[in-house]
């Protein structure tokens, strides 16, 4: 076996391959570079969507016109929703950190289809560009809400076709990433990496990928049908031609409910990575957490009707969907309880990522538990399509997945960029974000129960106090987020050099240099134990050298087989 380690000592950031400079990125097949390209693009869109969110809050500061006209407001919440959902929250953790970390954590040199990986990045970019073009062409920015409900989306004079087409392309990109991950996890695990030795992040991604593959096509065809209806007047959904708007809603939510678990499962995976690292002990209930990811993914297919409790769906159906909805709480609860139990008898080291995770557990629980109010039939009829729902989904999406995205950025920052940020400032930013977040969104629960409908440009005067409070919260949140990103950006250029394993993590990515070399490993490691074992090594990083040391290396093969 040749020991050509030389080229492997260069980090993937510095490595100069066939293509130099910017082309070295745009034509790269390296999963790590593709991950970073996703990061850049996603952050860009995230900033745009956040700015739109802030504008909405400004408009809601006073009743009547504050800074914009109704048509503008309607386009802004549509775009805010579309960008946040399709361009930020769905790809954020899988496409960025999944791409970067997944192959390393399972002991592979890359994903199984690197070209497909690059291709799905390009699809993502094309989708993003189409979304932006849709703002300025046709009748102007789409104004349908991110749900594109028919028949409004067929009738609207705005440029809905382009916006739905953008979502279609983005869906395709998401599918390809999913396919790539599933095949990679099946085929490229290092020797000894059995299914129950996979890090829990991988389990999260695995469950997510299945949803991506088996749910996204449905929205693809649904959106394509909207385009056809608009362009050619084909009668499929239009009630004027005999179409049934409720069937559209079924198809839309068949995808979009599972999609909320596409958003949260990778985030939950990261929670399960960060907690054992900072508690310095094995995770509590590994198998339960792993299996509950699959459980959530499966039950996620059974509950979409809870978005249609007031739509005129059959009573039987409403009862069935309500019952099934409550079942999701079980596997989610199992995860929450196991996470908390992981802290028990640990030796907890407090670092920025852990603060975010603790915040996540609290905020996500609030969001999830209010989801139960929405899942119960009697209460949902009252609060559906009010700010109660807006509060719920910001708590789970932003407070759940968004906060975990920040946690993830802090956790793997040293690994990805080889730099360390100022931890004190990171913790301060985290605190500000949590305070701002709750002031921004908690009043929405109250308004919602009082009867403030969502997607309202204007409101009755009795709601103003709460709206003002909420808007003030958004300013606090903005400061926290800007501060947090500022801290990370600063570290990117001026940060101190990061060690290989700054947190004392036990998974494979912490065994390779920061930033990792081009092909991650100069030799594929052999795995001999679970992912979060803290008191003994569970990886043999250079099996061939080990082999020379101990004749025949019977030990390794025994350990590999022992599982």
């Amino acid at each position: 076996m040749s020991h050509t380690l030389a080229h492997n000592e260069v980090s993937f950031l510095e490595y100069q391959g066939k293509h130099k400079g910017i082309w070295g990125w745009l034509l790269t097949l390296d999963h790590k570079r593709i991950g970073i390209m996703y990061l850049v693009a996603i952050l860009l869109f995230f900033f745009v969507a956040m700015t739109l969110g802030i504008l909405m809050r400004l408009e809601m500061l006073t009743p009547g016109e504050t800074i914009m006209k109704p048509q503008t407001y309607n386009s802004i919440f549509t775009l805010h929703g579309v960008i946040m959902v399709f361009l930020f929250i769905i790809p954020a953790i899988p496409a960025v950190f999944g791409n970067f970390i997944l192959p390393i954590q399972i002991g592979a040199k890359d994903v199984i289809f690197p070209r497909l990986n690059l291709f799905s990045w390009y699809l993502y970019i094309i989708g993003g560009i189409l979304a932006i073009i849709s703002l300025f062409t046709g009748g102007g920015a789409a104004d349908t809400g991110w749900t594109f409900y028919v028949p409004y989306s067929i009738r609207s004079a705005q440029n809905v076709s382009m916006a739905t087409f953008a979502a279609f392309v983005l869906g395709f990109s998401s599918i390809l990433t999913g396919i790539n991950f599933i095949a990679t996890i099946h085929r490229l695990r290092a020797p000894g990496m059995t299914w129950f030795r996979l890090p829990l992040f991988i389990w999260g991604l695995y469950a997510t990928s299945w949803i991506q593959v088996l749910a996204t096509p449905i929205i693809g065809i649904t959106l394509a049908l909207i385009i056809l209806e608009r362009m050619l007047g084909i009668g499929v959904f239009d009630p004027a031609l005999g179409g049934d708007p409720l069937l559209y809603q079924h198809l839309f939510w068949i995808y979009s409910h599972p999609a909320v678990y596409i958003m949260i499962l990778p985030a939950m995976g990261v929670v399960s990575e960060i907690l054992p690292t900072f508690a310095r002990k094995d995770v509590f209930g590994y198998k339960q957490i792993a299996i509950s990811s699959l459980g959530i993914a499966l039950i996620g297919y059974l509950v979409w009707g809870h978005h249609m409790f007031a739509s005129g769906m059959s009573n039987t159906s409403r009862v069935v969907f309500s019952l099934l909805t409550f079942l999701v709480a079980i596997p989610t609860g199992v995860k929450i309880f196991n996470w908390v139990a992981t802290l028990y008898k640990g030796s907890i080291k407090f670092s920025a990522p852990l603060y975010y995770v603790l915040a996540f557990i609290f905020i996500f629980s609030v969001g999830g538990l209010t989801g139960l109010v929405l899942g119960a039939l009697a209460t949902d009829v009252h609060v559906t399509d009010t700010y109660f729902v807006v509060a719920h989904f910001h708590y789970v999406m932003f407070g759940g997945m968004g906060i975990m995205f920040f946690a993830t950025c802090h956790y793997w920052f040293p690994k990805v960029f080889g730099k360390m940020y100022n931890e004190k400032l990171a913790v301060i930013a985290c605190t500000v974000i949590i305070i701002g977040f709750n002031i921004l969104y908690f009043p929405m629960f109250i308004m919602g129960y009082m009867g403030m409908p969502r997607r309202y440009y204007d409101y009755l005067p009795e709601f103003q106090g709460w709206h003002v409070l909420s808007t003030v919260g958004s300013w606090i949140l903005v400061s926290g987020i800007m501060f947090m990103f500022g801290n990370l950006f600063y570290a990117l250029f001026k940060g101190t050099k990061a060690a290989t394993n700054p947190w004392g993590g036990t998974t494979l990515e912490w065994r390779v240099p920061s930033p990792p070399p081009l092909e991650n490993f100069d030799e594929i490691p052999v795995v001999t134990g679970g992912p979060y074992v803290h008191d003994k090594p569970t990886y043999i990083m250079h099996p061939s050298r080990e082999l020379q040391h101990q004749n025949g290396g019977g030990k390794i093969s025994q350990e590999v087989k022992s599982h």
Binding site: L246, N315, S317
Partner: protein, 101 residues
């Protein structure tokens, strides 16, 4: 890794012969003509059921032989099953609305 090695070995060994393929094809064409004939006789609601049953049988034949699922390893079979189960769920739950409206 040994698992992977085995799969490789399996892969090249048994594939059906030309004869099997042609037999399957004859079966498929025969089934097609049966559906068309059955549809000609007015069977009422049975028409749909027979047509779909026959289509399902044809699909099984195509996947099993032409697509070599018969010779694939377990993973692919489980995958297909998962996909079909999900698809079935979508039907059942959608019709929990449509058929009780």
């Amino acid at each position: 890794m040994s698992e992977q090695g085995k799969e490789h070995a399996e892969h090249t060994s048994h594939h059906p012969t030309y004869g099997t393929y042609i037999m399957v094809w004859i079966g498929l064409v025969a089934l097609t003509s049966i559906t068309v004939t059955v549809a000609g006789i007015k069977l009422g609601s049975l028409t749909l059921i027979t047509a779909l049953t026959i289509a399902t049988i044809k699909t099984l034949m195509v996947t099993y032989y032409f697509m070599h699922v018969k010779f694939d390893n377990r993973v692919i079979k489980i995958f297909i099953l998962v996909c079909l189960i999900i698809f079935l769920i979508l039907w059942i739950l959608t019709f929990s609305d449509l058929s009780f409206r």
